[in-house]
């Protein structure tokens, strides 16, 4: 399989960051960037990365199974992640997550019918000081309230 020229250039540069014989180290960033372009960890993608980094296929499966940010199912255009770990739970993260479920009409690890949003309940995002916290794609949002969440989702809908 082939990637876009931009991604290929990125990979070519990335590989050079690792000393000879240690290219295996590029596995996680490579999977992440490839996922952004392909949408999910397809078998073809796994085979391709396996070939490029000379990593056993099973080792890639292990990594995919371990890290929640790698997914086998394609996600929505915007991926909403809400933390319900201790700090966030105490400051209303749980309610926030329930609100998001209602607002989007989907549950954990599901995708809206129009494919615009997917939702995931996640563990600590490392932003306890500004709990409750959430992430939309690669952007953090702090001290989130249900109203702020509504506003955020509406604005994302408008930018379609």
């Amino acid at each position: 399989m082939t990637f876009s020229p931009e991604l290929e250039a990125k990979f070519a540069k990335m590989i050079q960051n690792y000393p000879p014989g240690r290219q295996k180290g590029a596995l996680i960033p490579m999977l992440l960037f490839a996922q952004d372009e392909v949408g999910s960890m397809t078998p073809e993608l796994i085979d391709e990365v396996s070939k490029r980094l000379k990593v056993n296929r099973v080792e890639i499966e292990e990594v995919i199974g371990y890290y929640t940010m790698l997914t086998r199912e394609p996600r929505g255009k915007h991926h909403v992640q809400i933390c319900t770990n201790v700090s966030c739970m105490l400051t209303g993260g749980e309610e926030l997550y329930q609100h998001a479920c209602k607002k989007l009409g989907i549950g954990n690890k599901q995708k809206t019918a129009d494919g615009q949003f997917s939702l995931e309940e996640v563990e600590c995002l490392g932003a306890c000081s500004w709990a409750p916290a959430m992430m939309v794609d690669y952007d953090f949002h702090f001290n989130v309230t249900p109203e702020k969440l509504d506003g955020l989702i509406e604005s994302l809908k408008k930018t379609q």
Binding site: N56, R57, V58, G65
Partner: protein, 693 residues
């Protein structure tokens, strides 16, 4: 070796070499530290926490499996703290482990059962509903029940490190964590099934054995695998006369626990529906079932008649029959029938190697040498495919001792993954290519050279001259195909050489010449299938075949005698490294007779006096008369391996090396036997291919 260190374990002084792990140090004085994930010979994992021990001056309990013993260390393995920790670990492991022990294959030989019995708490504080996952079939040989898995990583390590296949991995986390096969929902691997054996619980189960028996309902026979020539010990589990499992958990034999797909699953040809269970006699052009006495009388009558008129016999021996049978057969031929026309399918030039090494001692490598040598050179063989155990030894040597392995082959081989240097060349040019490695090889302390049928005849002495010119100790292995290919040569199933490579009284026809001879009166084929590739020239030849199946050869025979397989026999076989080992009878198949008994009965029918035809008596005679076979009986009798060299002196005849060729079996084929093994044919990797990129 570094100076030994002294430590105290449970109040006892223990002296061990520096670097020894506490768990191993305890073993030396008979103290068992329980563990699941620790497995001798493989990388350390420290995943199961069962081996926690208390060490003085260390604040926390330490895993005995990763803690190296240190001078003056004081270790307690049964202190209240340790006992409590073990109980806790077992309670955790059982929190999600199904208690389906009454139907689980592992029940009775399960390490989790044993440890719970010995160290566990009788009660659990967990009341949560167990997380159930359905069983999965990964291949015809391997099934996985994730719920039973305790995530010890043993299977992953034996596959990755031991075999170099790496078909198993661990995916997901926490309660959802499970072992995953190489292709998502199925396995593509060597199908060796070692993962099933090492599994401490019943998470990995075997396609041939699952839900068939309880371990205490079976009898066990430790015998030698009858497929390739590596001579692995395989212990047959027999229930009601049927083999339902083969493994080698007691690590007896040269192979320890290693077995390939043939050793572990390839036993099922024994109970194939196509096994011959009655003698067949050609009547009016058709093979009809007859009684043994009728069949034997028919053969004896014709043999007697041909012998009386000085007719021409041709005798083809087998590469699967025992030493005793081979010895008796050549005696039958030379003394009984007075013919020199005896041969078998030769797959390696052992006589040429012995001749080239004449006068030198300690030049033949044992299978242990492959694990201990500093370097090894493989010439013209896809070792992982053709000699899985030898390949395993080299890989283990590389893992444990960083041995330098060199390969010279006509295509890609698995050893290249870790080889110091690999050369590819045109088939037939292997020896010439290997010589270019001289400078590399000289650097090492010692060397084992393994060569296949690419090096034969004159080339063998060139190879030995090359090896001896390196100036380092070199040992050799001449690779041959089948379980007793080596024994067939040692016992004199050769047209020009008798037992022990002594010159035969007369030189007879070789295998190919017999098949091409139009004037043979009798062709007697024992456990071989020459007509599959070569149609016999003789149209009036009376053909007698002893075999397990109605092979292409048997179909054209005049008399077919149903023989017992090696798993149904007692006797000895000699492996590729010249190690003599004992076969022990497992099952019995009705209607068959061992080849030795058939020879004996025929001799009796013919009125020949060839001696008593029991395996023990013939072996005694072999020990007396064949050089090198005077092996220590206690070693053989207790299931050990005794290395032998059947000659140390010039071999008087060069034979006809042009007729030497390997059958080229892969990991999933095994000549005729392999065709009748359902498992070897059912796995999706079959039939496999040599030198596969």
């Amino acid at each position: 070796m570094a100076d030994p260190i002294t430590l105290t374990i449970d109040g006892r002084q223990v002296k061990v070499p520096a670097g020894t792990l506490v768990i191993e140090a305890a073993k030396t004085v008979g103290i068992e530290v329980p563990s699941f994930c620790y497995y001798e010979g493989f990388s350390l994992q420290a995943a199961c926490r069962m081996c926690l021990v208390e060490v003085e001056k260390m604040p926390k309990l330490q895993p005995g499996c990763t803690l190296p013993a240190a001078e003056g260390m004081v270790v307690y393995t049964e202190s209240p703290k340790v006992v409590e920790a073990r109980k806790g670990m077992l309670e955790f492991l059982l929190s999600n482990h199904p208690l389906d022990c009454p139907v689980c294959d592992k029940g009775g030989e399960c390490e989790l059962q044993d440890m719970t019995f010995r160290y566990g708490a009788g009660e659990s504080r967990f009341v949560e509903i167990k997380h159930h996952v359905d069983e999965k079939q990964w291949s015809p040989a391997v099934y996985y029940d994730a719920a039973r898995c305790i995530l010890c990583y043993r299977c992953i390590r034996v596959c990755d490190e031991g075999l170099g296949v790496g078909a198993l991995g661990l995916t997901y986390r926490g309660v959802a964590a499970e072992i995953t096969p190489s292709h998502g929902d199925h396995l593509e691997c060597d199908e060796c099934g070692w993962c099933i054996d090492v599994c401490p619980v019943g998470a990995l189960t075997s396609g041939t054995y699952r839900y068939k028996s309880r371990p205490w309902e079976m009898s066990y026979a430790g015998t030698i695998c009858t497929h390739c020539s590596d001579g692995c010990k395989t212990t047959l589990s027999v229930r009601n006369g049927e083999v339902i499992r083969a493994n080698n958990r007691d690590r007896s034999g040269v192979n320890g626990e290693f077995l390939c797909v043939k050793g572990r699953f390839g036993f099922d040809f024994v109970h194939s529906e196509e096994r011959l269970q009655s003698p067949l006699l050609r009547k009016d052009g058709k093979l009809e079932p007859v009684s043994w006495s009728e069949a034997l009388a028919a053969v004896a009558a014709r043999f007697g008649e041909v012998k009386a008129r000085n007719g021409k016999f041709g005798i083809l021996g087998s590469t699967h029959t025992t030493n005793e049978e081979n010895y008796f057969l050549q005696k039958f031929a030379r003394q009984g029938l007075g013919t020199a026309n005896i041969d078998h399918h030769r797959s390696g030039d052992v006589p040429a190697l012995l001749d080239a090494l004449s006068g030198k001692t300690g030049k033949l490598a044992s299978s242990a040498d492959l694990y201990n040598a500093k370097a090894a050179l493989v010439i013209g063989s896809d070792l992982a495919q053709q000699h899985p155990f030898l390949a395993f030894q080299l890989r283990a040597n590389f893992r444990h001792h960083q041995a330098a392995v060199y390969t010279v082959t006509s295509g890609t081989v698995r050893e290249e993954q870790y080889a110091a240097k690999s050369l590819h060349c045109e088939a037939g040019q292997e020896l010439a290519s290997a010589q270019s490695l001289a400078e590399d090889l000289k650097k090492h302390g010692d060397l084992v050279i393994l060569f296949g049928d690419a090096v034969r005849g004159q080339a063998v002495s060139q190879l030995v001259a090359f090896g001896e010119s390196l100036g380092i100790p070199v040992k050799y292995v001449c690779l041959v195909d089948y379980a007793n290919s080596r024994g067939a040569m040692d016992m004199g199933l050769l047209p020009d050489l008798g037992p022990g490579y002594h010159a035969a009284p007369a030189v007879g026809l070789s295998r190919d010449e017999m098949l091409a001879a139009a004037d043979l009166d009798v062709l007697w084929v024992v456990g071989s299938n020459p007509f599959k590739t070569t149609a016999p020239a003789g149209t009036k030849t009376f053909t007698v075949v002893q075999d397990l199946f109605l092979t292409e050869t048997a179909q054209r025979a005049d008399v077919v005698l149903p023989a017992a397989s090696a798993y149904e026999k007692n006797g000895t076989v000699t492996n590729v490294c010249g190690e003599v080992q004992r076969l022990k009878q497992g099952p019995k198949v009705m209607g068959t007779k061992s080849d030795l008994e058939i020879f004996g009965l025929l001799a009796k029918e013919l009125g020949l006096n060839l001696g008593i035809w029991t395996a023990d008596k013939v072996f005694e005679e072999i020990r007396r008369t064949v050089p090198g076979y005077n092996v220590p009986l206690p070693v053989i009798a207790t299931g050990g391996a005794a290395q032998t060299a059947a000659v140390n002196g010039g071999v008087p005849s060069k034979g006809k090396p042009e007729y030497i060729r390997s059958a080229g079996d892969t990991l999933f084929t095994s000549g005729t036997l392999g065709r009748y093994s359902k498992m070897l044919n059912r796995v999706m990797e079959a039939p496999g291919q040599l030198y596969k990129p």
